[in-house]
Symmetry: C2
Subunit: 216 residues, 2 copies
């Protein structure tokens, strides 16, 4: 997986609790068919063995479609299944230590909510940033909210790809046109849809149209 | 830390919830002064950053006393702080994968409750086994109980050091004399004591006396 070729336009974060699909494997396959360019496995309430076994199964799907698999928080599970990368937050193992553990080739994503956190993350080796929460969301209720002004400051200051996260859906994505972000990280807007593939496709289409309008 | 020189006689598992000591650092230091030969950091309800920072602090204490620090479950945190080893259960990342991640020199401990699990763990690279739960305990209420007969079968079958865990205290340790185990893994019998150092010392003394009697 060549890091620089990743398409961040639609970045899927999994959440089995939200699914209408019969299995996470099916939801991920559908999302990827719908155009999701990155899949982040984010599962909090399972033991490490279950997370590991799930990651083994999901990696078969993402690898078959040429889409990178990113593991949230558990660097050990990412290493055990040879995932394409890891995503960490401000309350996980520090980015600098994580970069040492995963080496230069694996993708390192870091969540940041302030310009200071964003600059530190890039300095510590982040390949991309997840900026948010942009809106209040049911999937991460304790998240700090990021203003549009802070997002723009971060965008102006960092050279790495940025995805926005937290309450991103067909309505809210319109607010990000012209901000220079690289993609939309979604959880429920895709995971909770009755037709996951169509939901992914529609988000990409609307975002492409919005960006097209802003570029006019 | 030379793996073959480890003294498993008193193996401390931490649990901040049970402590009467003002800090985990103080409890660990006292336990080591009392004779604990291994310290396993086992903390479930904290985020990865807090676990990491705690491990950094605890490692300074164990290293100063020449006692190995073992990290429970989170191989990534063990690698990040360069701990002496890891301990995994049957619901963690499989032992074979863990051995690959940590290399040959780090200590790998595996929990087992049956002869089959014990043999598999050794085959997959375990340096020692934690056998239990021997008794019902408040710190791990869902644990499967191991009979004394099964413990003896495991002892007869595996060449690596064995510590027993689960309800081990001044009373129950008497039941293990003559079984050929290498040590006692304790949580509350030391962590919850008002004088941690004295509790550790007394457990070792009683065990030494019990083993001496059984050797007569």
């Amino acid at each position: 997986m060549e890091k620089r070729k990743i398409d961040y336009t639609l970045y899927l974060c999994t959440d089995r609790g939200l699914m209408s699909s019969p299995s996470l494997e099916e939801a991920v396959a559908e999302a990827v068919l719908g155009g999701a360019g990155v899949v982040q496995l984010r599962e909090k309430d399972i033991d490490a063995r279950e997370f590991y076994e799930l990651a083994v199964r999901i990696k078969k799907i993402t690898a078959a479609h040429g889409v990178p698999l990113i593991i949230n928080d558990r660097i050990d599970i990412a290493l055990a299944v040879d995932a394409d990368g890891v995503h960490i937050g401000q309350r996980d193992i520090p980015a600098k230590q994580v970069r040492k553990m995963i080496g230069a080739d694996k993708i390192l994503g870091v969540s940041a909510a302030t310009l200071e956190e964003a600059l530190k993350a890039v300095e510590d080796g982040a390949d991309y940033l997840g900026i948010g929460a942009m809106y209040v969301t049911g999937t991460k209720e304790d998240a700090r909210l990021v203003t549009m002004e802070e997002l723009k400051r971060i965008r102006a200051a960092v050279p790495v790809p940025i995805v926005v996260i937290g309450g991103i859906n067909l309505q809210t994505l319109e607010h990000f046109k012209g901000t220079g972000i690289d993609g939309l990280a979604v959880v429920s807007a895709v995971m909770a849809a009755s037709d996951v593939q169509a939901a992914a496709r529609e988000l990409i289409k609307r975002w492409t149209v919005a960006e097209g309008r802003s570029a006019e």
